[in-house]
């Protein structure tokens, strides 16, 4: 049990982070905050991937004479891509938020619902 705890605590922390992010997305009414939540959610997934790639005693995967153990470069590559995807999504989401504010005068989910029903 202890061993399990020690060897996996990293993943568990990541899961907690994911859940906080996910919670902000689904349970918060402010549109900007939802985007922040989405960011946290995604970033924690990134942390998870990078954790998968970590090798005990390894170094950064830049080949140097005399070093044998490197961490796994593949997750790094994947996450580089994913980060870019994340910022792209964020930018688009924020642009939408700005337009929503202009069109509705609010960025709170509950108010938007009300205003949509009015028309």
């Amino acid at each position: 049990m202890i061993e399990q705890l020690l060897s996996h605590y990293n993943y568990w922390v990541v899961i907690i982070l994911m859940m906080v992010g996910f919670y902000i997305v689904v349970a918060q009414g402010n549109l900007v905050k939802k985007v922040v939540g989405l960011n946290i959610f995604q970033t924690s997934v990134f942390i998870f991937y990078i954790s998968v790639g970590k090798v005990e005693g390894g170094t950064a995967p830049i080949l140097v004479e005399g070093v044998d153990v490197y961490s796994n470069p593949l997750p790094h590559v994947l996450i580089l891509t994913a980060i870019v995807v994340g910022i792209a999504t964020t930018a688009l989401a924020l642009a939408l938020v700005i337009r929503i504010k202009e069109a509705y005068g609010s960025v709170e989910e509950s108010e938007l619902q009300i205003r949509d029903q009015q028309c």
């Binding site: 959610f41 998968v52 995807v85 792209a88 999504t89 688009l92 989401a93 939408l96 509705y104 949509d116």
Partner: protein
Amino acid sequence: MLAHLPILQVILPFLAAPICLILRKPKLAWLFALIVSAAALAVSGLLLQQVYAGGVISYELGGWAPPWGIEYRIDLLNAYVLLVVSSLATIVLLGAHTSVQKEIEAHKQTWFYSLYLLCFAGLLGIVATGDAFNVFVFLEISSLSTYALIALGRDRRALWAAYQYLIMGTIGATFILIGIGFLYMMTGTLNMNDLAMRIDAVESTTTVLAAFGFIVVGTSLKLALFPLHLWLPNAYTYAPSMVTAFIAATATKVAVYVLIRFLFTIFGESYSFGRHPLAEILIPLAIIGLLSASTVSISQPLIKRMLAYSSVAQIGYIVLGIGMGSALGLTASLLHVFNHAMMKGGLFLALAAVTYRMGGSEIGHMRGLARTMPLTFWAFVLGGLSLIGVPLTVGFVSKWYLILAAIELGWWPIVIVVLVGSLLAVLYVGRVVETGWFGEPEKPGRNEAPPSLLIPLWILIAANFYFGIDTRLTIGVAENAAAWLMGGGSGL
């Protein structure tokens, strides 16, 4: 060049998108986009033929052998879906210029075509690739462009719809990403084929189970399976007409493809259905979605929204077939992927024509349509018949197979559900047709849509009947692909 077909399929619209942006003039951009999509369509036709002739095609991107590099892997299943996507994209684009001119501000039109091509390329990329992570990347290309396209709608609710879709879509994509990460963790590979082989050794682990859960939920979000469909009605309703026609016909179909690919190719039929109560989860959801969405659509005053709910219902049929876990059920699903693309594409194009002339697609705009816009009206009627599943239409073919599959399993309640679903379709289609037929138009006199809208519309309507009669292509491919996915057959 034949050897490069798989990559050409994706790269043609992919690289055409930035070129479109450089062209600047909307008309020029449209023409260019159209030519490129037609080329992509030709490529997909050739690809299907090649797969038929020579079996699975593998293309190593960058010359790196899989699993180290990214592989494009075209088999019967994705060649078929590629054909669906590229034909619908091309036909919709054919009519886009006229509609876009009216619905989208002048300085945004070039961007529209560029985004359209990106979305198109993204969808093709998802389908063509044999690499799990690459799926995620192209999924995001298509998703981001879809959000932007939806937000181009005139109504302010388009923005809100796009935002909701963005949030839900990103959650779905992130779920898929988590699933892929778990799979990578357990197998060390991202290549689908490789995954399929290596997954057997670790299939009893809970990690693979969690990966399975995340991927199924993530794709279900994307394909709008009840109750994860909440983003769809608004998105379809407020997007510009052409965007609705395009995404309704293709985007959810591609998500269905991803689900099928993961369930059957990667996890394998025995894992997905043998080990887990997947059928017991998918089928009730499909049924509830099918019945509730059909019922809701009956009372929608906005016809676009009505058809959007109908799409949710039709997704129910597709998932029902997948959930059966039998070759015949899968055949029915694959058939319906193709068939539903044609009917919904046609119906939404008809609405685009109505919107073009009448300025909207509410039930009031449909009044007296039989007299003011007879060609559009009859196209809608025929498309509606296909949706209901009247014989000689594609809708009938899919329904036939779905019922056959249910009878084969002895699932009589499912038979009833499918039939009741068609009956509900009679109601919601009938309501519009009745208004169009009997209603008094506000402005009497002919006011038919321009040919540029009618031509693509009637191409799709004709296809509804052509493929409802000559079913060699669709059924042939669907049956073979299904047999192959179920572990038999040769993939031909």
